[in-house]
Symmetry: D5
Subunit: 91 residues, 10 copies
C-alpha cells in the first residue's frame, strides 16, 4: 500500500553544525536503506522549506510508522501521512 | 489494517421522503453486509449532526474505498479517511 | 518539472447518469493521452472521496494548467497544485 | 458513554532519555490500569507522529478528564476530545 | 452531563414565509418541551447571525442527539457539540 | 451582558510546583471573588485540556477585560471572548 | 459598547436587478436611520468584495443583533461580530 | 500604491456557453483598459484553477475596489486583496 | 487611506517587569505621537487578550509599515493589516 | 517560470543586534545578486510584519529552492511558494 508523507523539519536553526551534520548524515544513510528495501519510493523537496514530500510503500500504517520513526531526524519531524488508494487506471 | 472514517451526509434537506427512505434502507442493508464481512467494525453518530464516525478494517486503502463507494448514500457523503497504526500496547 | 495535483470532483450527485458517463469516458481517454505524452506520471484515489492525487510533469505551470484544463471534467474540478523540487538524493 | 481522544505528545525532543523513559514507563503502567477498569478501550498510533487516537469509555466528561489528567505524560499532551453517540445500528 | 451546542440555521433565505413561520413555531414549542424536561438549560443568540449557542443537559451524547434531532428545524441546522466537564470549583 | 470565555492555560509544563501552586491558589481566590460579585456565572473544564469555558456577566467588554486581566494566571492564558445576545425565549 | 461587524453579502449574483435594487435602497435607508440614532458609527467596504466592515455602538449584544436583523439585506448577510473593549488610552 | 489581488471565478460550470463567452469577452476588454490606465500591472493564472493573481496599482483601496467592481465578471468573483508596501530595496 | 490593524502582543510572560514597563511607556509615548500626527485614529483592546485593534490612516501601506515598525513593542507584535475602502455612504 | 514567494522572518526578537545586522547585510547582498541574475524580480513588504512577498523567476522549483536556501536568513524564514502560470493576456 502507498502513502504520501509530508515531513516538516523542526530542528531549531540554532542547532550546532556538527549535531546537524551528524543527523543529516544518519538521515541520508537510513533513507538509502529505506529506498533499498522498497519502503521509500520517491522523495521531493517542498520548495523554499526545510520539508519533504515522500511516496512510501508499506504493508500497513504500523509498518510505515516504524520506518518513519527509524529516521534519526524523526524526533524533530512534523509528519502528516495520507493513505493512497490505487487508481483503477493503474490497476 | 484499520481506518477511522468520518462521513458527513450532505443529502439536501429538501430530498423527498421516499427517496431519503429508500437510500437509508439501502444504506442500512449495505452497512450490515460490511459488518458481516468484517469491514465495518464500529459506527458512531457525531452528536447533533447527520454524520458518522466509523472504524473500518480493510486490506488497504483501495479496498476501503471500494467498500465506502458501495454505500448507496456515497454520492452525498463527504468522507475523510485516517489511516490508523496498531499501538504497541495492543500488538 | 514535477507537480503534485489534488483534484476534488464537484460534479453534483444529481447529474444524470449518461452525462456523468460521457464525462468519465472522455476523462479516461484524455488521461490516457496525458500519460502517453509523459504529462501524467501517477494517479491515486483519495480513499473515500471522489477525488484524486496526481503526479504530473510539465515544462512549467502554464503547460500544466493547459493539460489540466483540457480534461472534460475540469469545469467541475477543484484543483490544488503544488510545485515539487527534485530532492538532492534523486538528482 | 464513549469518547474519541486525540493526543499529540509535545514532550520536547531535547528531553533527557532517562526523564523520557521514566515518563513512558509510568504512561504504560497507568494506561494498563485504565484498560483494566474499562476506561481505555482501544488505542492507535497516528502514523508518523508522536500521537495517539484512543477510544475511551467514561460516565461523563468530568470522569474522562480525571482519567486523562492522571496520565504522567498529561502536562505535555495536547488533547482533543470528541463525544460519540451510540449509533442506532449498534443499540 | 452538560454540553455546549452551537447551531447555525442554514434554512435558505428564499424559504416561503409560511414554511419558515411553521418551522419557527414548531421550534419554539419543542424548545419549550426540552426546557421543561431539563434538557435545554440556557439559549443565546450569536449576535448578527441566524445561530444559537445552547447549554444542554443529557445523560449522554446519544440522548443529546435525539433531543437535537427532534427539533423541526434540525434538517437545516449545522450543529457542533462540545462536551463539558464539571469544574472542581462547582462540584 | 453575558460573554462566553474560552481560556487555554499556556503555563509551561516545566514550571516549578511552588510557582504553579501559588498561581493556582491565587486563581481560585480571585475566581471566587468574581463569582461573588456576579461576574463569573459558570465555569467548565474543556475535557482533556488545561483549559476552561466560562460564562461571564459584565456591563461591557472593557469591564470583562479588566476582570479577566485581574486573574493571576492571565499572562499565561490564551483567551477568546464571544459576546452573547439574550435569546427572545429567555427575555 | 462598541462592536466591529463584518458582513459578507451572499445575495446570489443571479438575483433580478429590481429585487437587488429594492433591497439596496431599503438597506441604505435603514443604515441612515441606524447612523442617525448612533448605532452605526462608521462603515467601510472590504476592497474587492461585496462585503462591509462596520463600527457599531449598542447597549449590548442583543440590541446590536436587533439592529443588524432590521436590515432588509440581513437574510443574505453572513455576519461576524467582535466585541471591542475601550482602550485605556481613550478612556 | 500596489495591491495583490486573488480572484476565484465562481461562475457555475452550467452557465450557457454564450453567456460565458460574452462575460469573458467583456472581461478581456475591461482588463485591457485597466492595463492601459496603469491599474492592472501583471496578471497570472493560478495553475489548475479558474482563478487569477493580479498585481494592481491604485491611489487607494476605494479606487481599487471601483476598478475590480467594474469587471463584468465581478458578481461571480471571490476576491481577496492584500495591500503591499514598497520594499526599501526598491525605493 | 484607512487601515484596520490587529496586533497580538507576543512579549513572553516571563519578561522582567522593568523591561516590560519601559517598553509599555515607550509604546504609549509613540502611540500618542501617532495620534497627534493623525496616523492612529482609534484603538481598542481585544477583550481578554494582550492585543489591540486599531484604525490607522496613512498615505499608503509603506507609510503605515514605517509607523507600526516605529513602535518600541513592534519586534514582539504579530500584526495583521487590512486595507479599508471608503464606503459610498461616507464619501 | 515565475513563483510568488511569501517569507515570514522568524528570527527571535531577542537576537543580539550585531548578529541581526550581520544577517541583514548578508541578506541584502545576496538579494542584490539574485536581482542581478534575474531570479528575484520584485520584492514587497507585508505591511506591519517582518515578512516579504517576492516575485521570482527560475527554471524550475529546484532552482528556486536553491536560490532561497542561499539567503543567509533562510534558516529562520518560514517560506511558502506558489507556482504562477503565465496568463494568456500576457503571452
Amino acid at each position: 500500500m502507498e502513502f504520501l508523507v509530508r515531513a516538516e523539519n523542526r530542528l531549531p536553526p540554532e542547532t550546532p553544525d556538527d549535531v546537524r551534520e551528524r543527523l543529516r548524515a544518519g538521515e541520508r544513510e537510513r533513507a538509502m536503506q529505506l529506498r533499498a528495501d522498497g519502503t521509500l519510493c520517491r522523495l521531493w523537496r517542498v520548495p523554499g522549506r526545510n520539508a519533504t514530500l515522500g511516496l512510501y510503500q508499506a504493508p500497513d500504517a504500523a509498518a510505515l510508522h516504524d520506518a518513519l520513526a527509524s529516521l534519526p531526524m524523526w524526533p524533530w519531524l512534523d509528519v502528516h501521512v495520507e493513505a493512497l488508494a490505487t487508481h483503477p487506471q493503474e490497476r
